[in-house]
């Protein structure tokens, strides 16, 4: 059995030797380089793009703007079938400017240097408009009721113990090391795109529409990804721009988005503001929960963060209502960032539970255990497999939670004040449509699927599944993914890829073994498998991953230094296909959570709406020195309702809840309740 064993990544050697071909590594004959020019206003119109000086730069071959790019079609409504994109409007498709940094021109040149210099010489004249960038509020936008049960207003009013607080999370920017990139090459009326895509099939669908060609004329490759964190789920403007320029010029065009542009043009987690009203009886049983959230979106699109994703089922509570609204602002489109919805949402609701525990004078762990749901009360259906209570109890034991003394600042070690905090977490478990082809040779096999490996271990996991299904060692299995011409597979998003590929991979292997019986010994036989997704359907059972985090921070008030020292995390993520890559995901998510809780915030200038800290010096992420010690445990209960191996994805669950657990620990250490992330030094310096 390979499934369940912690084998190394099968593509690891290629990556550490530099042999893995990432999109921006691609160099084609006659390839040109494109550099987009970003708007220096956030709202208004482009009056004139003067390319004269740019075209005079040696090596510059073309400058495009909205008057000469040719026809690019804006994308219609998003769906899994028609393709999903968050910025629907095609680049350079009008003279209006909706956000700072919006592409207003593209310089194409024989070298990157010439294109970069040319871009500095494109003179754009604007008619600036009024900039909408005021802070967002909880009652903003058309209010949408997401879920409702009982009478939360009445129950809240009748409760003696209540919490009514507002929480804020800032804009966070995806910063995978690999920048977004596109290399577009046409041959006749067909285009090949080398992309940084978490969803090659979706990318093909969207680009076919934007370019006005049929689906079979677009082929998308993403052999390897230097991660994406959701930022590479859907296509962004550099992709149709590169394809349009390549079509006009008859030569391949490469565009690599700069780190600065990563903060403007390829999505971000939107800022959220969330009011949570929660009440309990004297024993700590929840009597009501209301969660009203608003996220910002851009002026032309309707990105909905869905902060109440987990609110409706994660707590046993008879009276509940969740509402959401969107606030239009002059920013680029937000997009999914690792754990969209649940991650900011659980920061708010788990923080409110922590505050409720204080109000009840009750241990926050005991409060969680008292309100563990027995079924999905939002949908009123049973869970497929839910062991969140065990996550809490095992985590507490491993952490030593019973040693905790409740009073603020009451625990010390090595002259530092300790803060201990905890929170629960949850994330969806679903499948997407998936087809797989397996070619079986006498002593080896190859698995084909148009999914891709975001860096989490999809190559390896597919080889392990096929190895077991075929009875062939993992080393004899090769995996072909990251090519839209292969049998259509799932996006690497929503922690759904692993669960999605399991049924068709096993089916394709069985099909191949069956065909083997009627074939000669030397012959290669081909097996097929497909399975329908569960995502977006009407489930009979509720499938989710669960977990619990326990955090230790140290606090040195004499120098206002707060550090996260120790994290114990227990995850109920179904059967774990590969404990090594899975642990890597949870540990990475914990570090991501340290950044979310303590450091990350994209700051916008209040006047120009320009993102200000758009570089790695000023946008602070956790450094290696900020890594806490991490103790990660998987419960490993198979979820057989989800797929035959009982596996769920674990890419996102580890981030959910971390920020609330950290702010819980911060409160325990300092007495300061931070409801507006990130926790900053200024929050902790007593006035």
């Amino acid at each position: 059995m390979s499934v369940g064993t912690p084998i190394d990544r099968i593509e690891g050697r290629l990556k550490v030797t530099g042999a893995a071909d990432y999109a921006s590594d691609r160099i084609l004959d006659g390839m040109l380089y494109g550099v987009p020019v970003g708007s220096t206003i956030a709202a208004g119109r482009v009056l004139r793009v003067d390319a004269t000086d740019a075209l005079a730069v040696p090596g510059v071959v073309a400058v495009y703007d909205h008057t000469n790019i040719g026809t690019l079609h804006s994308h219609g409504s998003s769906s899994l079938k028609t393709g999903i994109v968050d910025e629907h409007r095609a680049p350079l498709s009008g003279d209006d400017v909706q956000y700072y940094g919006q592409y207003v021109a593209l310089v194409v040149a024989q070298t990157l240097e010439a294109a970069t210099e040319g871009a500095a010489f494109v003179h754009v004249t604007y008619a600036p408009g009024a900039v909408h960038n005021a802070p967002i509020t909880t009652d903003e936008g058309e209010r949408k009721v997401g879920s409702h049960r009982g009478n939360p207003d009445k129950a809240f009013a009748a409760s003696a113990i209540t919490v009514d607080q507002t929480y804020r999370t800032p804009v966070e920017t995806h910063n995978p090391i690999e920048l977004h990139a596109t290399v577009a090459a046409w041959e006749g009326d067909s285009v090949t795109l080398y992309e940084t895509s978490q969803a090659v099939v979706n990318h093909q669908r969207v680009l076919a529409q934007m370019l006005g060609v049929s689906l079979d004329k677009v082929r998308v490759f993403t052999h390897y990804l230097g991660s994406g964190f959701g930022g590479k789920l859907w296509p962004w403007a550099q992709s149709p721009l590169a394809a349009a320029a390549a079509r006009r010029l008859g030569q391949p065009v490469k565009i690599v988005v700069t780190r600065e542009q990563m903060f403007m043009n390829v999505g971000h987690r939107p800022q959220t503001v969330q009011r949570v009203r929660i009440s309990a009886d004297a024993d700590g049983r929840l009597t009501s929960l209301q969660h009203d959230s608003t996220n910002h979106t851009n002026m032309l699109d309707d990105y909905d963060e869905n902060c109440s994703e987990a609110t409706t089922y994660f707590y046993s509570v008879p009276n509940l209502r969740v509402t959401s609204g969107l606030a239009k602002r002059n920013v680029g489109s937000p997009t999914s960032m690792r754990g969209p919805g649940a991650v900011p949402g659980l920061f708010a609701t788990e923080s409110a539970l922590d505050e409720l525990a204080v109000a009840l004078n009750m241990d926050p762990l005991a409060l969680r255990l008292r309100n563990v749901p027995q079924r999905d009360e939002g949908l009123d259906i049973p869970f497929t497999s839910c062991h969140v209570g065990e996550c809490y109890e095992l985590g507490a034991k491993k952490f030593g939670w019973q040693q905790r003394t409740a009073a603020v600042g009451s625990m010390q070690r090595d002259g530092m004040i300790l803060g201990w905090g905890m929170a629960g977490c949850s994330w969806i478990a679903d499948r997407l449509d998936c087809e797989v082809r397996v070619e079986l040779n006498p002593d080896s096999a190859r698995v084909f699927c148009a999914t891709q490996d975001i860096g989490t271990g999809t190559y390896t996991m597919l080889a392990q599944i096929a190895s077991d299904a075929l009875g062939i060692p993992v080393g004899h299995i090769s995996v072909s993914i990251g090519d839209s011409s292969l049998p259509p597979g799932p996006m690497s998003g929503g922690s759904m890829a692993t669960a999605s590929v399991i049924p068709p991979t096993i089916a394709a292997c069985k099909d191949a073994l069956h065909k083997r019986k009627s074939a000669s010994a030397e012959e290669t036989v081909v097996g097929y498998g497909r399975s329908d997704g569960t995502f977006g359907g009407e489930p009979k059972k509720s499938s989710h991953s669960f977990g619990a985090h326990f955090i230790e921070v140290t606090w040195q008030p004499e120098i206002a230094r707060l550090r996260v020292r120790r994290v114990v995390t227990v995850i109920d993520g179904g059967r774990i296909i590969n404990p090594k890559t899975a642990r890597n995901q949870i540990e990475g998510a914990i570090v991501f959570g340290v950044g979310m809780a303590l450091f990350e915030e994209t700051r916008y200038d209040p006047r120009t709406a320009a993102p200000l800290n758009r570089n790695f010096a000023d946008y602070v992420v956790a450094s290696n020195a900020d890594h806490p010690s991490m103790d990660v445990t998987f419960l490993d209960y198979p979820d057989y309702d989800l797929n035959p191996l009982g596996a769920r994805g674990v890419g996102e669950i580890g981030l959910a809840g971390i920020a609330a657990a950290i702010t819980s620990a911060v409160h325990h250490a300092t007495g300061v309740r931070v409801r507006d992330l990130p926790v900053s030094i200024e929050d902790l310096l007593a006035p």
Binding site: T40, A560, F599, L612, D618, A622, S623, D626, L685
Partner: protein, 319 residues
């Protein structure tokens, strides 16, 4: 770009036409890429024989202008006699950057003010007279000491704070000859000319930094910031003390992350001289050091943070 082989050639090349010297390139190349610095010409001085670290007559140490930050920080005498400098350098940047960055280049490090580094924004330092959007904008990382109505940009260096506490001198050459600039005469307050950052004259080349002898002194650098590594200081303190038992016989204090220039605190030093080392005495000195601080909309916390930083640095160096 011109590459030169010795100091005279460098000075001649600079005399011939306006140009900027470049050595490690960790500031200048970055800013050229950002379109912030636009030198017509650069003169590469990497090959000049200015990389050695030598004993100075009288017991001090001479750091060649091109000695890298790593070489200085790990030099045995710097580690033992000028610990504040070693600690300051190692608290900044990354190993890769410190391996390239030079002593003189660090002296001339430009501010990290976001508006200075955005060529589309106004900035009195970059384009005199264009205005200061930082004063009315986002200024969390900017200065509370030595500011003016025209500029509140912070000097970002750690090294220069330590050199200030050590009373280093800067040796420069020009076609006219040599001169020595004490570090407290090297940096200029922004006033109404924030584009002028140092007293270095056009055509002058820094050739060395001299550290005076520090026998009998202990020194220390404490840097506070959001994360544990690779971030500029929100507040830092470079301190050196001479103790006579528990009495403070001599003390030098410089603050970083809070000043438009590396900030010497002479009044705080005077208040401590002759006092017994204690938390109360140190806190009182810190209050004095920050008494003229002027907060902006986002950076008022730096005043209290700097006080705690200085108090703790003095406690640690006297412990």
């Amino acid at each position: 770009m011109t590459r030169v082989a010795d100091v005279d050639e460098a000075l001649h090349a600079r005399q011939a036409a306006p140009a900027q010297y470049v050595a490690g390139g960790t500031t200048l190349i970055d800013l050229m890429r950002q379109d912030v610095e636009r030198p017509e010409r650069v003169i590469a001085i990497n090959r000049l024989a200015l990389r050695t670290i030598d004993a100075a007559a009288g017991g001090g140490l001479v750091l060649g202008a091109l000695a890298t930050n790593s070489e200085v920080a790990h030099h045995p005498r710097v580690r033992s006699e000028y610990r504040v400098l070693s600690e300051a350098i190692l608290s900044g940047a990354t190993t890769q950057i410190r391996n390239m960055a030079t002593t003189a280049g660090n002296l001339l490090q430009r501010t990290r003010c976001i508006y200075f580094r955005d060529p589309h924004a106004a900035c009195n330092k970059r384009e005199p007279g264009s205005g200061c959007p930082a004063i009315t904008g986002f200024n969390r990382n900017l200065a509370v000491l030595g500011t003016s109505d025209h500029c509140i940009a912070t000097n970002p260096s750690d090294q220069n704070v330590a050199l200030t506490a050590l009373e280093a001198t800067i040796e420069v050459r020009s076609a006219a000859g040599s001169r020595t600039i004490p570090i407290d005469k090297f940096y200029l307050l922004p006033a109404d000319t924030p584009q002028r950052e140092t007293s270095l004259q056009p055509g002058e080349l820094i050739v060395a930094v001299t550290l005076p002898p520090m026998s009998g002194w202990r020194s220390h650098y404490l840097k506070l910031r959001d994360r544990q590594s690779y971030e500029f200081a929100l507040a830092s303190a470079a301190v050196a003390v001479q103790l006579d038992g528990s009495t403070i016989a001599g003390v030098r204090i410089a603050l970083g992350g809070v000043g438009t220039i590396p900030w010497r605190a002479p009044a705080a030093e005077a208040a401590l001289r002759g006092k017994t080392a204690s938390r109360d005495a140190f806190r009182e000195a810190a209050e004095i050091a920050l008494r003229d601080a002027r907060p902006q909309s986002d950076n008022g916390f730096k005043i209290e943070l700097a006080k705690r930083c200085l108090t703790q640095a003095l406690l640690e160096v006297t412990a």
